[in-house]
Amino acid sequence: MNRFEEFAREAFDLATIPGKPEALKGVRVLELATRIYGPATADYLGELGAEVIKVEMPGKGDLMRYVAPEGFFWQDVSPAFLPQNRNKLHVGIDLHPAEGKELFIRLAEKSDVVVENLRAGTMDAWGIGYRTLRERNPRLVYAANSGFGQWGPYAAGRASYDATAQAVSGMSAITGFPGRAPVRVGLWIGDFTGSLFSAIAILAALYARRTTGEGQMIDLAQAEVLIRALDWTWLYADRTGRDRERAGNRDVAFPPSGIYRCADGFVAVSARDGAEREALERVLGGSAASDAVAAFAAARTRDEVVRASEEAGFSAAPVAGGRDQYHSRHLRARGTVWELSDPLYGRIDEFGPVPKLSESPGRIKWTAKPVGYHNEQVLGGLLGLSGEELAALERKKVVGKWADVRGARPPGREDDAPAGAAGPAPPGGGPREKNP
């Protein structure tokens, strides 16, 4: 073991994480957002140590609670709701009545960041937009996530989802096979990529605030995020006057790099430089054309191709799916598949933090909770409302908790069908009983 490996074994030991400081400790984020592009921004900041208060409509809450894969709920929560809603304090406030708005403003006064993803201008029309909030808290960093931005021809009421951004940006036009239909990436890539861009700008704005003493507004359109991510597409269009063609699974910058079919699945073969191409040619016994690589891969398993690449000096990696990832020893050792013990739901494994910080690591402390689960803690504890005040607001339906429906309510109902409160039963040998 060299010195770095020795260092890394200690510095990144998952067991040491709870005892280490958090990078964003003391940063409070107020989230008024639904679905992904907004909640995920706050989640990314929460992983790094920010305190996140998620405001939802009392009753049904964030409509993402009801987006359930094949209609499947686990302990009355959708597995599609969890990944972008960890480490949050859930508060149910109706922002339609004036008292609800005032509660929101008081929370914003005590926050460093607001993240919202309502249609452009909605918050302002409700009287809780950036212009109002900055009067009460000039240090506030306000992130407005939207499809098309807060101003401009498309800003006026035009709704957007992830795939709108994939479509209008040009991303889909360059994804897929020549002569076939453009391909929508099979995940909410515009939402998650946009969420990350948003978190980055918030961090930059918080850094700037150390000097300027002031917050600011961030207007981020998810279509524009994907435009930024299309590498050489724009220079190519500008210089040639042509559209970049779909190239299927080949990376045309590094022929014959690409994804190939093999005996038991698919594998990526990569030759980034001359040395790797020569190594590939040696193995193929001739020119490294795509056809030769395809024939080579087809006769071997994923593991055999990867082994051959490691012996020869080019690169390869299996095309992995969720099952491979869930059972990966590597991803679990890195906390990328994070083994969480949640106080309400028990054991639940999640995607952990991406950047691994040696001194102030990110972490998952708990997973999503029912609507209004932390009302007392936040409205009583942080805002100092008395029990009577809170009760009065509840009677007026300004403040509230979950509706008695799947997706919104706590686990443990008798009529819950599959997993119930007995806890998860993962396939394939079950999880290890170690928690970070």
Partner: protein
């Protein structure tokens, strides 16, 4: 334009960025990412926010300059490098040579952040790895980008990091494309990668995110740290509910092509002039869509009445075909107009019928909206001519990001950096140059 939109434009229009302060002034970054666009993305993001980035290239130029799709090269540099090389100073340095390593350590010594994409094992062997640098510069934030990450059972795998490797491991291709037997051509019914380098982008972006969090921590505590980002994990993070669905249901997400396991319709449909996106997946929105396409009865059809009905595989197919009967007689713009005419009179969930043309790049470039919002910028960059670059997407009122300069030739800033920053005398520079250290 509403009062708010007018105010927002005034406050955040990128055209007004010059003259405003930047977010990261005084933060200096050394980028050592030979042949690696992902490392360039990380450094670009920091540079767009005002960090001063010094890009270290091997003498003769970065291998990434040679990446040239369709063989297109401008003054010795390919388009991918030209697209990402912005707001930097370009120096050359051979870290193969002891003198070069010494200069690298001196550069790091006057910097806040190091961005590298070389395996940490190689950096350590060269004496410029994290442990060596933090000894000399205790507050250094050191970002390492790789395929598998810097620790863990697979960390030692000998790969040259590449976008296609990160994509493959991420699970993105696994759920993208037509399922077998569902498409027009078995050759294309396969896991499909994104056309752009989304793996490298995600890797660089998460890297920048980690660095910013680490800078925040350093501002509070004075302590630097090692930031480890795996490109595979960076993109993996975007794959929706892969892990939670496996854990709770033992189910793995599959490719579903134009269909979607959780929401429908949420799909691309053919239209007269190409393809367009259409979504109307909550019950109210679907009822709106049924009216828009002139078949109001569909909302009561037992196959399509509720979300769970609509997401049954056979019902998704039937509904997709019904939608294309309507859409193939219309252009994408007509579809947008018809939908907006209807939804502008609605509010709440019933208004959530959403569409957008699947633009080819030239169509995107031709849309006034992006031009007006400053999404693209033209920068004079001799000897490469004028370059059309995608601008930073954030519109910010206080410290907006901006593109200040574009690509320069290898070593163009050697003198400014080595003399100006490190104080090397001209004879020293000349001697280093003669010996091909720089």
């Amino acid at each position: 334009m509403t009062d708010f939109a007018a105010w927002a434009r005034e406050a955040t229009d990128p055209a007004r960025a010059p003259g405003k302060p930047e977010a990261l002034p005084g933060v200096r970054v050394v980028e050592y990412a030979p042949g690696h666009p992902g490392g360039m993305v990380a450094a670009s993001v920091l540079a767009e926010f005002g960090a001063e980035v010094v890009k270290v290239e091997p003498p003769g130029g970065d291998p990434a300059r040679g990446y040239a799709p369709e063989g297109i090269v401008v003054a010795g540099t390919g388009l991918p490098f030209l697209a990402e090389a912005r707001n930097r100073r370009f120096v050359t340095l051979s870290v193969e040579r002891p003198e070069g390593r010494d200069i690298f350590r001196r550069l790091a010594g006057v910097s806040d952040v190091v961005v590298t994409t070389e395996p940490e094992r190689a950096m350590e062997a060269a004496g410029i790895g994290y442990l060596a640098l933090r000894g000399a510069v205790p507050g250094i934030v050191y970002l390492s980008l790789s395929t598998y990450g810097a620790f863990g059972p697979d960390a030692a795998r000998p790969v040259r990091d590449a976008d296609v490797l990160c994509q493959a491991l991420s699970g993105v291709p696994y759920v993208t494309g037509d399922p077998e037997g569902e498409g027009p051509d078995p050759e294309t019914e396969v896991p499909t990668k994104t056309g752009n380098w989304h793996g490298w982008f995600a890797q660089g972006l998460w890297g920048a995110c980690g660095v910013l969090a680490a800078l925040n921590f350093r501002a509070e505590t004075g302590r630097g740290q090692f930031v480890d980002v795996s490109g595979a994990e960076a993109l993996m993070k975007f794959v929706d509910y892969n892990i939670t669905w496996m854990h709770t249901a033992g189910r793995e997400r599959q490719r579903t092509g134009v269909y979607d396991p959780a929401v429908f319709p949420y799909t691309y449909i053919r239209c007269k002039d190409g393809h367009t996106f259409i979504a109307a997946y909550n019950d109210d929105a679907f009822e709106s869509l049924a009216h828009i396409i002139g078949r109001p009865g569909l909302a009561q059809d037992p196959r399509f009445r509720t979300g769970p009905d609509r997401t049954k595989a056979e019902n998704e197919k039937a509904l997709h075909a019904i939608l294309e009967e309507w859409s193939t007689a219309r252009t994408a713009d007509t579809i947008l107009r018809e939908i907006e005419d209807y939804t502008s009179k609605k509010s709440g969930p019933g208004a959530a019928v959403v569409t957008g043309r699947v633009n080819r790049p030239l169509e995107t470039l031709a849309e006034e909206n992006w031009r007006l919002r400053g999404c693209f910028t033209r920068v004079a960059a001799p000897p490469y001519g004028e370059l059309l670059l995608a601008a930073p997407p954030w519109k910010m009122s206080g410290t907006p990001p901006r593109v200040k300069s574009a690509c320069r030739p290898p070593g163009a800033d050697n003198e400014a950096v080595y003399s100006g920053l490190l104080g090397l005398a001209p004879p020293e520079l000349a001697s280093l140059s003669d010996r091909r250290v720089i």
